[in-house]
């Protein structure tokens, strides 16, 4: 008789009487089948049918398990107060709601001389069957002066008005409730804006167009136009309930790493310099260039870049003969006149007697730096180490949630110490939060060596939301150190990088890929060793200038023009004199004011002056703003029609379009910047599979056991 192999897995129904042997059970099962389920404990249902207790148990427990728990939930429970943080977008859900209302962003750039005029058109559509209110967080240049917005609903075009932030918000909420289509543009940071579009009805196409202008200032003869396309996920320790309206953008949905952006991105425009363009290129996108005359080129993104809105668009160009556009521009307005002076800097002179310096590198190793950004950072550190002299000293502070210092006191920059420092950084892989302020304080607490100038060099992507607190701290340390900031990555927070440099009287650098690291390191060394111009002073002779910005001009490290905005009255005559100290000695340059400098095409100066003033008052100013300062910024925003942290653009279509009750709030998901890992989006949560999956598992388990049982009982019956 052939021996039957006992299966490794459960063949019997688990709730069969356990005392029955395998063979006995087979017989038992077979007998029961023959008896037509008449034996055993059961409840007679209808004639021959009986319900067994485990069937009842299965059914009851399955029903209770799968019944929605929400019916028992207490609706009045207050939501838990969580830390403000970005989160991952969950696709799917209710097909009636269009979760991706932003379909398209089209950017048109017109660069004339040193001024870029940019038009951004965002198209929102609702392909669902329920009305929605869309919210989209998007970036812009840190220097953007946003001066206009229009909304188009069908064939109706509405010009937005600038209003105080609170009033605009109230008006928008009212329109939203009443069923009117409306759009509200608010500033969250100088380079982060939030667009709200209310009542996008099913089948609607609503386009919102905003306009901004900015000044392009060349560095080392290279002009750079940057159009950021995505706001990186920010680390915040603020709780949701305590977050200010400006901080709420942090709580935004993000798609996962390497996922393509969900909306299209198009960019086109023209560059008109007046001087032949020697070189023009983009290192970030495929761009088609078409020369349309001397000093004029048309640009457009290649078709392959349709979904490239996950990294900054950077366009760089150089004029023939390394010249830069410099001189005086005047604009004669109805009520006020404005001027812009771009003064060519003196030639850099390398100093022979360079005193030793102490360098403290503060390196971000948080989750958002994981992978490509941290690799770039390590490459940059290697290059920075090479430009130090043995007479210099160095130290390293790495930070994420906490921070760690390479040495208790800075050590000489010998090759052995440099190698150890690089190994110290090399061991970090990226993970955790971004507690930058604590790291800067740690760097500041490293014991000082008397008579040695200190430079603190920050390497980060800048993905934090507490920029103002960092600027405050740096301003308080100016007697002790200069601060230089390197932004690492494809879409860094330029507001933080530029703000650190500005508050710390240093220079900002952006490194988007490892190949740029070496040159950036060289520039840092050059800038620190040989500033272009220090002790800069400005005098006006015979020219009645007032409200001049900036009020004091910081030392000039890089070879870039000195930029001065201001207002003027009376006749355009006299001169503007710039003085300072270079490596050769005293420097003086006089710039005559001529009537022919005035041109009606320079109208952008009005906005640029106001934006510069607002930037000096607000962008890099203290975290706590005084009432007088708030009033001044608000007045500037309203008076010059500019978006500020206290003024917003609002457009309302004065027709009630939504007549049904209710609409869904939809936050447009943002792509993670290229090269940034999922670790940047707050915490990963190990959510468990939903109960429906577990029910499916149990069903599969029970079904499998039943099949085996039936097979076995059949084979038993045959035997």
């Amino acid at each position: 008789m052939a021996r039957r192999t006992r299966p490794a897995f459960v063949l019997r129904h688990p709730w069969r009487h356990a005392e029955s042997s395998y063979h006995a059970q087979n017989q038992c099962v077979a007998r029961r089948r023959r008896e037509g389920w008449r034996s055993g404990n059961g409840v007679a249902l209808a004639g021959r049918m009986r319900l067994r207790p485990h069937w009842i148990a299965n059914a009851v427990i399955a029903l209770v398990s799968l019944a929605p728990a929400g019916v028992a939930a207490q609706e009045d429970r207050p939501p838990a107060d969580k830390t403000l943080s970005p989160y991952f977008f969950v696709d799917g859900g209710d097909p009636a709601v269009d979760l991706l209302p932003l379909k398209d962003t089209r950017v048109n750039v017109a660069i004339t001389g040193v001024i870029a005029d940019v038009t951004v058109r965002q198209v929102y559509e609702n392909r669902g069957t329920r009305p929605i209110h869309a919210r989209y967080v998007f970036p812009a240049s840190t220097r953007a002066a946003v001066y206009g917005m229009t909304m188009t609903v069908g064939n109706v075009r509405i010009v937005a008005r600038i209003k105080e932030r609170e009033k605009a918000k109230t008006e928008f909420e009212a329109a939203k409730r009443e069923g009117k289509s409306a759009s509200l543009l608010e500033q969250s940071r100088p380079n982060v804006f939030t667009m709200n579009v209310a009542n996008v009805l099913p089948g609607d196409t609503i386009s919102v167009e905003l306009k901004y202008t900015e000044l392009l200032t060349p560095t080392d003869g290279v002009y750079e136009f940057v159009y950021p396309t995505v706001v990186g996920p920010r680390y915040s320790e603020t709780s949701e309930s305590q977050a200010s309206p400006e901080d709420r953008f942090v709580k935004a949905p993000y798609t996962h790493e390497r996922e393509e952006p969900r909306s299209e991105f198009h960019l086109a425009g023209s560059v008109s310099t007046g001087v032949p363009i020697q070189e023009i290129a983009s290192s970030t996108h495929q761009v088609l260039f078409r020369s349309t005359g001397q000093g004029r080129s048309e640009i457009s993104l290649a078709d392959a870049e349709q979904f490239s809105g996950n990294r900054d668009f950077i366009l760089r160009y150089r004029l023939a003969g390394e010249t830069i556009s410099s001189g005086l521009l005047l604009y004669q307005g109805r009520d006020e006149n404005f001027f812009l002076l771009m003064a060519e800097p003196p030639k850099t002179v390398a100093r022979g007697d360079i005193p030793p310096r102490e360098y403290i590198f503060v390196v971000d190793v948080s989750g958002s730096m994981y992978g490509f950004p941290l690799d770039t950072s390590k490459a940059l550190m290697g290059d920075l180490a090479k430009v130090l002299r043995p007479s210099d000293t160095l130290n390293v502070v790495v930070f994420a949630d906490g921070n760690e210092t390479f040495a208790p006191a800075s050590v000489p920059a010998t090759s052995a110490n440099l190698s150890r420092a690089l190994q110290f950084i090399g061991r970090k892989n990226g993970g955790g939060g971004t507690r930058l302020l604590e790291a800067l304080k740690q760097a500041g607490s490293v014991p000082r060596q008397p008579g040695v100038s200190r430079s603190i060099v920050l390497l980060t992507d800048g993905f934090i939301s507490a920029e103002a607190e960092v600027f405050d701290y740096i301003r308080g340390q100016l007697d002790d150190a200069n601060f230089f900031a390197f932004g690492i990555g494809s879409s860094v927070n330029r507001h933080l990088i530029e703000g650190v440099a500005r508050a710390g009287l240093g220079e900002p650098f952006i490194v988007t890929e490892p190949s740029e690291a070496s040159e950036a390191a060289d520039r840092l060394r050059r800038y620190i060793d040989s500033p272009v111009l220090t002790g800069i002073d400005l005098t006006f002779s015979g020219f009645d200038a007032y409200d001049v910005e900036p009020r004091t001009i910081p030392d000039l490290f890089a070879s870039r023009p000195i930029v001065v905005f201001g207002k003027w009255r009376g006749a355009p005559r006299g001169s503007i004199e710039i003085s300072g100290t270079t490596g050769r000695g005293i420097y003086r340059a006089s710039h005559p004011v001529a009537a022919d400098s005035a041109d009606g095409r320079h109208a952008a100066l009005r906005h640029l002056w106001a934006r510069t003033r607002i930037a000096n008052l607000s962008d890099f100013g203290p975290a706590a703003q005084s009432e007088a300062r708030v009033a001044e910024i608000t007045a500037l925003g309203l008076g010059y029609g500019l978006l500020t942290r206290y003024t917003s653009f609002i457009a309302v279509h004065e027709i009630v379009r939504r007549t049904t009750e209710g609409a869904d709030d939809v936050d447009q998901p943002l792509p993670l910047p290229a090269g940034v890992s999922d670790k940047a989006v707050g915490m990963t949560s190990g959510f468990e599979p939903e109960l429906i999956w577990l029910a499916a598992m149990l069903l599969a388990l029970v079904g499998y056991l039943q099949v085996l049982r039936v097979r076995r009982s059949r084979s038993g019956a045959v035997a």
Partner: protein, 175 residues
């Protein structure tokens, strides 16, 4: 028969109660299961988790949070229900019914902690490597991993319950 029906009713009530508690609860209310789970995960992975009120157990070093949605309540519900059905035949009276209920809940709780901790440990390992599969996002990979671990956990628990049940039956018969 009556005792068995009573047990089914009480088990259903317990499941409903757990679900209600889960739907209403914040992370603070689920300390009774989040805390042991995070301890097991911490012991296995060597990661320090810090209790953060209203959020759960947080590892800032690994950027991982064991929060409400990771509590393992769904597994506990499934495991408890499965065990009740499996051991229903042992109910002869009210007392034995209560014993079965207590055994089922304790075993379900223990299994939920162990299986869920295993699931989270693997999830952390996958998250560290930013694991994705072709045509699957990391969230989908995470869900698949959870389903696989939970299924394996339920199968093992089912087999374990059957063996223990059988052994107890043999012991009872010998006695």
């Amino acid at each position: 028969m009556k005792a068995k029906l009573c047990l089914v009713a009480v088990a259903a009530l317990v499941i409903w109660g757990m679900k209600r508690h889960y739907s209403d609860a914040g992370a603070d209310d689920l300390w009774w299961i989040l805390s042991p789970t995070s301890r097991v995960v911490a012991a296995v992975t060597g990661t320090a988790f810090v209790a953060v009120p209203s959020e759960g157990f947080v590892s800032r070093e690994r950027m991982f949070v064991i929060e409400k949605s990771c509590a393992g309540i769904n597994f506990l519900v499934a495991a408890f229900g499965m065990l009740v059905v499996a051991l229903l035949h042992r109910v002869r009276s009210g007392v034995s019914g209560l014993s079965v209920l207590a055994v089922c809940f304790s075993a379900g709780y223990l299994a939920a902690v162990v299986v869920n901790a295993t699931r989270i440990t693997i999830a952390m390992w996958l998250a560290d490597r930013s694991t994705t599969l072709p045509a699957l996002t990391s969230a989908q990979v995470h869900r698949l991993e959870g389903i696989a671990v939970y299924f394996a956990g339920l199968v093992l628990l089912c087999e374990l319950a059957r063996r223990v049940d059988r052994r107890m039956g043999l012991i009872g018969r010998m006695a």
